[in-house]
């Protein structure tokens, strides 16, 4: 038995949202809620899904933990390691590259001090992650932070505006089932 002291628990608001989502699928197909519940888990527990959090997801869905691990490791949106307060997902695919995503990545590495694929910046604010096409090619280059797209980041001003908006966020934006957003997690490198 694991100790209950360290065991993560969903908030009441998240539990209600999970219950709503599970009703969208046939009773015996509760596993279908895997991806939506993993998204909720990542938002609830500081932007990543630890093995303990994944076990909780398995428990909620009534599946074996391995069924969650094999899914969380397949889909790129789920962070399996601790991250900074803000994960900057920089699109690196062709159309963004044509409009300067390589330069944007270098610029963000310089400004934040974080490296793509590496740990969060020393102040714990930013994790940089390169991702594939975000379906915003006409507004390239593009960065996604949680549910928000920052587009046409081809000027110093547009990048500065994004970073200052993020620096000023104490809590992450509230999700539809929440009254307020949760405090942003502090990176634990």
């Amino acid at each position: 038995m694991e100790s209950t002291a360290t065991k993560p628990q969903f908030s009441e608001a998240a539990k209600a949202e999970i219950a709503r989502i599970c009703k969208q699928y046939p009773e015996e197909r509760r596993k279908s809620a895997m991806l939506p519940v993993l998204h909720i888990a990542q938002a609830e527990f500081g932007g990543w899904v630890s093995p303990e959090v994944q076990d909780l997801v398995a428990e909620v869905l009534g599946v074996k933990p391995i069924e969650v691990y094999e899914v969380s490791s397949f889909y790129t949106m789920f962070n399996l390691k601790p991250v900074g307060k803000h994960v900057l997902e920089i699109c690196r695919t062709g159309p963004c590259m044509l409009r300067g995503s390589d330069e944007l990545t270098q610029h963000l590495e310089r400004i934040t001090g974080a490296k793509v694929g590496g740990p969060a910046s020393e102040d714990g604010l930013f994790t940089l992650k390169e991702v594939e096409c975000l379906a915003a090619c006409g507004f390239a280059p593009v960065v996604q932070v949680r549910e928000k797209y920052y587009e046409q980041l081809d000027t110093q001003e547009s990048v500065d505006a994004m970073l200052s908006e993020l620096r000023n966020q104490v809590h992450r934006p509230a999700l539809p089932w929440e009254e307020t957003g949760l405090p942003n997690a502090v990176a634990n490198n």
Binding site: S32, L35, Y75, G94, M97, C137
Partner: protein
Amino acid sequence: MGRKLLTEHINVEGIDTLEVYRKHGGYRSVEKAIKTMTPDEVVEEVKKSGLRGRGGAGFPTGMKWSFLAKPDGVPRYLVCNADESEPGTFKDRQLMSKLPHLLIEGMITSSYALGANTSYIYIRGELLYVLRILEKAIAEAYAAGFLGKNILGSGYDLDLHVHPGGGAYICGEETALLESLEGKRGNPRNKPPFPAVQGLYARPTVVNNVESIAAVPVIVNEGGDEYAKIGVGRSTGTKLISACGHLNKPGIYEIELGLPVEEFIYSDEYCGGIWKGRDLKAVVAGGSSVPILPKELILKTAAGENRLMTYESLSDGGFVTGTMLGSGGFIAMDETTCIVRNTWNFSRFYHHESCGQCSPCREGTGWMEKVLHRLEHGHGHMEDIDLLVSVAKQIEGNTICPLGEAAAWPVAAAVRHFRHEFEWHVTHAKEAAQPGAVYRAGAVLA
């Protein structure tokens, strides 16, 4: 000025609310279909319209619908493929976020035609903000009686849900999408059985792209024959083109199929020409997986005819001198673009996105990425160029799903049309490896 069948009202303020959408004729197709037509009559109109799948494959939608198995007492499903991930393509995101009710209306009318009582919109996980928009609009549709039990007093019931993915290009392949919707890894299934017989939860299922579903309301309202009058030959109706890359005015354009490519690129009504006064070098016309064409071949066919934005005209010449309309992801590259670097970038994408199930794709995409990386970075050999073509050939046709072809075609086409650039990367390895270096008639441009 072409007709706008889907996007006429896209910039109307408040069009994302049911009230404003209704004022502009929204949900008429639901009323017409449910009150005055049988499901088969709706299918018949879609067949007559000639509508072809707008996700990329171009398979006739009405025919796909008619393949749906309908055993008694077995539920069947309509699943909308909103996993838009093909590089260069961003039309569905725009359509759903600005006109959520158009997709919902299309889902209701189409579900009625197919006899589905539960339908899903599978949207890529990165678009969670669009999922929120859709869920809000769906709640409005329930409140107005367009969803739920006994829709418009007809006795027909429908529940509609939105399901997010988790970041995987492969889930745009319809059987991988269904696996994902069942809460599993997105590994494509062996076919047969096809989804029309055994799809979601092993039940008969139709999977259609967002834009295909969004075309159903206008087809039902105006009739399939009217819809088919727009366009050229077997390319009927309008198509959303996502224009990106080195264009003056990138963005989404709804065009009547048959528009000349040259007009699309250069006219001020559309893309307004190439940025910074530069010359066009090449175009990837239908999303990253279709063959790249040099300027001369995208504007005119090998026979010298004007190339049109139609399924047939773009594929004229096969893969020797033609390409495909695909998803309508139109990527323009100016004269300063390095084709080797761009091809390497796309190969890295496909390697990253291969699900790993079939060895030719899992290994082959990795090989192509590595070989292209060394060519781009000045460590390539002359025989690498033929090696690329050979690996691409060995992937093609040897995988469960079309990701293999999607990875192989761009590489084969880049070598076919731009072999001199690959050779230059070997003969001028040092120069070619400089950042921003580009082959142009033997000169290095920074």
